[in-house]
């Protein structure tokens, strides 16, 4: 890792970096980065809202002993497992990008499919977690803490779902036309962003007491 970190930046380039645009960067790629930068504000707002409201009192039937903290309901070992799944999907995504750059379409499809599958597993885990919370009596409108929690994690889940749709669309398109490596890279950027947002959510919401 240190070897990669110390590698001179000047020696590194990707074939799609030069385009006939004023910036020299392709418009879709630049647009994706602008979108991701703006998404930092969206998730920043949702995370801040959760942090502000997480200790608000409110009756939750499943929490007779400590009704103030919804974090008492969190199943950290289970959520850790889904976090590992999402982390693994980032690896498979990056492998699909390198396969696309080598014009290895079969491998690209394989890794894209694996990424989508891991994304579905993560979403399945989130749906299971939400269902458990509802069974415990923690619904979206139970109290202001639960509203903030479900809004934050729900928005993240919606991002994952959109990512899965994009991955599956890319796989589908690859059968009828040549998929540009840059398209895979751009969707990969979105997918990795979803992963880093989860890195923050997992730490701030689930692990920090």
């Amino acid at each position: 890792l240190a070897e990669i970190a110390l590698e001179p930046v000047e020696d590194v380039e990707f074939p799609d970096d030069a385009h006939a645009t004023a910036t020299g960067i392709s418009n879709p790629k630049l647009a994706m980065w602008v979108y991701l930068a703006s998404d930092c504000l969206l998730f920043g707002g949702l995370i801040s809202t959760y942090l502000l409201y997480r200790n608000r009192p409110g009756e939750i039937p499943g929490l007779s002993g400590n009704p103030e903290r919804i974090s008492e309901l969190f199943d950290v070992p289970f959520t850790s497992m889904t976090s590992f799944i999402l982390l693994m999907s980032s690896l498979t995504m990056v492998l699909s990008v390198t396969s696309a750059m080598r014009d290895d379409i079969a491998r690209m499809r394989l890794w894209l499919g694996t990424t989508a599958l891991l994304g579905m597993l993560f979403l399945g885990g989130q749906i299971y977690e939400f269902t458990e919370f509802v069974h415990e009596g923690l619904g979206f409108t139970s109290n202001v803490s639960s509203s903030a929690f479900f809004t934050l994690t729900g928005f993240h889940g919606a991002h994952v779902a959109v990512g899965i749709i994009m991955l599956l669309t890319l796989i589908g398109l690859s059968f009828s036309r040549k998929v540009q490596a840059e398209a895979v890279e751009t969707i990969g950027l979105y997918w990795h962003f979803v992963d880093i947002v989860w890195v923050v959510i997992f730490t701030v919401v689930y692990l920090i007491p």
Binding site: L1, I4, V9, E10, D11, V12, E13, F14, P15, D17, A18, A20, T21, A22, T23, G24, I25, K29, L30, W33, V34, L36, A37, D39, C40, L41, F43, G44, I47, S48, L51, L52, N55, R56, P57, E68, V76, S80, S83, F84, L87, S90, L91, M93, L95, M101, R102, E185, G188, L189, H192, I196, V199, V200, F202, T203, V204, L207, I208, P209
Partner: protein, 161 residues
């Protein structure tokens, strides 16, 4: 401060006046080089991320292990505070590794780095100010802080009763 240039083969590229940015790519485009981490290096980065995540998860039990209910290494509050600081540091490391290597931002154009850094810095600034203005860093014992006051109920006291 950037200009678009065109080489003999008709390819476009950007040369920054400050010497950074994409100008450095111009000389290599026709060679079709694709640098950056190799697949095995991506695996190495993944295992580092995996290890960090595993360490993060263990902090969930630190209070039980190292606190007063366990090996009594330190007071519970100290264990909790240390775990929290470590978690934030590990979160930043994971964030940087994914953005820098998996998203290639370390190897990409300076414009993209600036674009994302601007959004991230703006988000951090706006919400740190928001949290500070809403008294997030101190706890005054009032969980309803910043909410509308609860409705006032009057009680009638019967005199001489």
């Amino acid at each position: 401060l950037s200009t678009t240039t065109q080489d003999a083969q008709g390819h476009f590229g950007r040369a920054d006046a400050d010497g950074g940015g994409d100008g450095r790519h111009m000389g290599h485009l026709d060679e079709g080089h694709t640098h950056g981490p190799t697949d095995s290096q991506y695996f190495t980065i993944f295992w580092v991320l995996f290890g960090i995540t595993a360490l993060e998860v263990t902090t969930y039990w630190w209070e039980d292990w190292f606190g007063q209910g366990g090996w009594k290494v330190a007071p519970d509050d100290t264990v909790r505070a240390f775990g929290m600081v470590l978690l934030l540091i590990l979160m930043v490391i994971k964030f940087a590794l994914i953005v820098g290597f998996f998203m290639h931002l370390r190897f990409d154009s300076a414009l993209l780095r600036r674009t994302f850094s601007f959004g991230l810095a703006l988000g951090l600034a706006v919400y740190l100010i928001t949290l500070t203005s809403m008294n997030f860093w101190t706890y005054n014992g009032n969980p309803w802080f910043n909410d509308p006051s609860p409705p006032i109920t009057t009680t009638t006291v019967v005199e001489g009763g």
